[in-house]
Symmetry: C2
Subunit: 466 residues, 2 copies
């Protein structure tokens, strides 16, 4: 496949301007610069950037790139952490940030049709006024885009009760790498006609098709929420509590975990009043009708109790809940202060393997001399593993990371729960997926994108030779 383009041909650029209007494309490297990176701190300069305003422009642009074999990298707000939108083979970056409208909102049918550039927060506000929400809630929800959420299948704490984008998307309008429009899925919560192209495209990181409209499944907002904080002697006790909480009938809407290393670090940043010997912490939230919620929280609190529990606090007011969240919120600034170049992974293991994961990470930390702190979405077994490497330690950190992934796979886990693969994990994918599955994925990609122009070099490692 020859998709690398050093300079874009003049006929391509002329037609590009014709499609989106001269005012909506950039070719000056200074203008293109900002469209070459994301939150992974990786960067590659595209030859051109275009801003699409509507579906037909996206279709025409994809057709143009297909014709000229120019790499086409769709981009929302660039908040991803894996380099999935860095144009490593150059070409055209298609910014969808101006396609940010809510096209339709049907409260009675519980769906909304959004353009990909709409931010998660703007969507939540629009549907929230009628008493609904869209479950995916990445930390970056204030500025990340719906299209990016779908491309990465990006979730957040609420996934433990309400699922990921794949569970909350009914259908798509999209454009393939051959510039063809497709409509996938349905406007209803059931539908079994044809193969499930919707969920195939969700999580495909812009390598199969570019989403131009998404029909999103909405959920009525709960009436109230109770917050609990449980502090444990060690990770094993916290993991036992997670399994017990997930086995009783009240599904928590948040079940966040913080390990002992992270607690120490957070306390360095601000005193948090944790009991002596705190080795792990769970933040638990239960939502629903006001009636019965206290009993539901109590039931979850009972499940949280075991012989390793040091303290269980329940928030009676919103202020108290904020106070309980203080530890979790102290983490990010503390981490930034300690290691600006930290490697932040988001591995997943079955809940019962959390103690083995954390113990194994402690061993790897000691072996490689890289501090590791861990926190994350315990109900899903989805842990943010932070390697706090200093600039001079990056090589050692990479070796450590390699062993972290090996550990996760031995524990029957997966390399990523919500960040995606992008560039960062591309070369590890073949340790998780079998060869025939990868061959099928490449073959499927070739049907959607016969010339391999859509986000080339991402998600799947290059096919083996011969």
């Amino acid at each position: 496949m020859n998709v690398a383009a050093v300079t874009l041909p003049q006929p391509f650029l002329r037609r590009l301007k014709h499609i989106v209007g001269a005012g909506n494309c950039r070719t000056d490297p200074a203008d293109c610069w900002a469209y070459g990176y994301d939150n992974s701190k990786r960067h590659a300069l595209p030859q051109a950037v275009a801003f699409a305003a509507e579906h037909d422009q996206v279709r025409e642009l994809a057709g143009l790139c297909h014709e000229f074999e120019v790499p086409l990298v769709a981009r929302g707000r660039g908040t991803g952490t894996t380099g999935a939108t860095t144009p490593i083979q150059g070409g055209l970056v298609l910014s969808l940030e101006r396609m940010d409208r809510l096209l339709e909102f049907s409260p009675d049918n519980r769906y909304a049709v959004a353009q990909p550039g709409m931010t998660n927060e703007a969507l939540q506000q629009a549907v929230g006024r009628a008493g609904f929400f869209w479950p995916p809630d990445p930390t970056s929800s204030a500025f990340c885009s719906i299209g990016g959420n779908l491309a990465c299948n990006a979730a957040g704490p609420r996934a433990v009760k309400y699922g990921t984008p794949r569970d909350n998307t009914l259908g798509l309008r999209a454009v393939t790498g051959a510039g063809k429009e497709i409509r996938t899925g349905v406007f209803t919560t059931k539908g079994v006609v044809g193969y499930d192209l919707t969920r195939l495209i969700v999580g495909s990181e812009g390598t199969l098709a570019i989403i131009t409209e998404a029909t999103l499944k909405l959920t009525p907002r709960p009436e109230a929420k109770h917050t609990l904080r449980a502090v444990y002697r060690d990770v094993a006790a916290a993991a036992r509590a997670v399994a017990a909480i997930m086995a009783q009938p009240v599904a928590p809407c948040t079940l966040e975990f913080i390990d002992g290393n992270a607690l120490k670090l957070a306390q360095r940043h601000a005193p948090l009043g944790l009991p002596e010997g705190a080795g792990a912490l769970l933040m638990i939230e239960v939502d629903g009708l006001k009636a019965g919620l206290a009993e539901a929280a109590e039931r979850v609190g009972q499940a949280a109790g075991n012989d390793g529990l040091l303290d269980l606090s329940a928030a009676a007011t919103w202020d108290e809940a904020e106070h309980l969240w203080q530890v979790r919120k102290a983490l990010s600034p503390a981490l930034r202060q300690v290691a600006p170049l930290k490697i932040n992974e988001d591995v997943v293991v079955p809940v019962t393997e959390l103690p083995a994961l954390i113990a194994g990470l402690d061993e790897l930390s000691a072996k490689h001399g890289i501090p590791i702190v861990n926190f994350g979405h315990a109900g899903n077994g989805n842990i943010h593993v932070n390697l706090l490497a200093q600039p001079q330690d990056m090589e050692r950190a990479e070796r450590c990371l390699d062993e972290v992934f090996g550990l996760v796979l031995r524990l029957r886990g997966t390399l990523s729960g919500e960040h995606g693969v992008g560039l960062a994990k591309r070369d590890y994918v073949d340790r998780e997926l079998d060869a025939e599955s990868m061959r099928l994925m490449r073959a499927v990609k070739a049907q959607f994108d016969p010339k391999g122009i859509l986000n080339p070099g991402k998600m799947l490692p290059a096919a083996p030779c011969g």
Copy 2:
């Protein structure tokens, strides 16, 4: 593609016997007969039937059929209603009924690994003892198989709260049409490495791969359930109630609908004590913790109330709940009595379109002289449309059905919510799916099944010539 096989070659039969053992295959037409039909009443005779006992046999059988280009139709318990397992091109029927074991059950991680031939009920019993259930609950759950549930993405009443098989499957072990093994998905509730082959295979009706193991996501059993019955003057009032129920924070675990024609029919079978002028009925169930459940049911009851509500009854006991379900249970025998050859569809429309759907069906019923009664899973907009045709009316019924599908698609619906396509709806699929999506589906199929041996002639209509 030349996959039709009139008689199977001797070398094929020898190797077939070698793979599964002579005692585990049948070639006598009398023995094969029973493996040629399902609950659609369609029939086609296979040349051979094999019973696999383990994954490796399935893999070798698929490799053998691939080599000899013999059609291979995987089959669970034959409870499907669309003819999806009838071997219309002959070949080998692979019965998975003996692969019926629970391979692993991890309550703490909330998953079970089942073989495809295990019945839905056997699974429910096995995991129920530890307080869990697997949400999909087709009416045939006592005898239908997990593999069939996955192949058709077959759901049931509980889907309104708990989702379909696609929402409740974590990963698969499967064999492609080239006889290759793949493992898809994860053992956790999150995972974004690679394309979502799990959900692509779920619902693909045995045309992409044969599932040999499924990792199923389990849910803790609710503690209690409340049952309500709401009777309305007309369908419009019932539909308004459905939208209102689905828009408040208490998700019902059942929200079933019965139209006026069905009520009349059921009352002919047995007097049901419905109020005068009953034009539609909703059966509503709410489950959860005992604490707060009465308030939750009351909230749902409030949402069910509008100016078309004639009667709202709540069951105080299990016996009373049974009594409320009497109408629903009277339907099937009544339908069988009236029209043994009834055509039972399972179309879906957005909830707000239910009145237009039922009104349109009444018109089509009058136009074609075919009685139509409707009931189904209203929370999902999934309605079982029953054309009560007599043997001499079948041609007229087919013309009527054609217009029913047209109506459903005009209302932004889908042709099937849970039965699947199989043979019955294959030739209507291109009215719902666009040409490029169908081209992609066929291209994807060709990657999984290069010689087109897996369940040929099902689900997708033949490709257009030229």
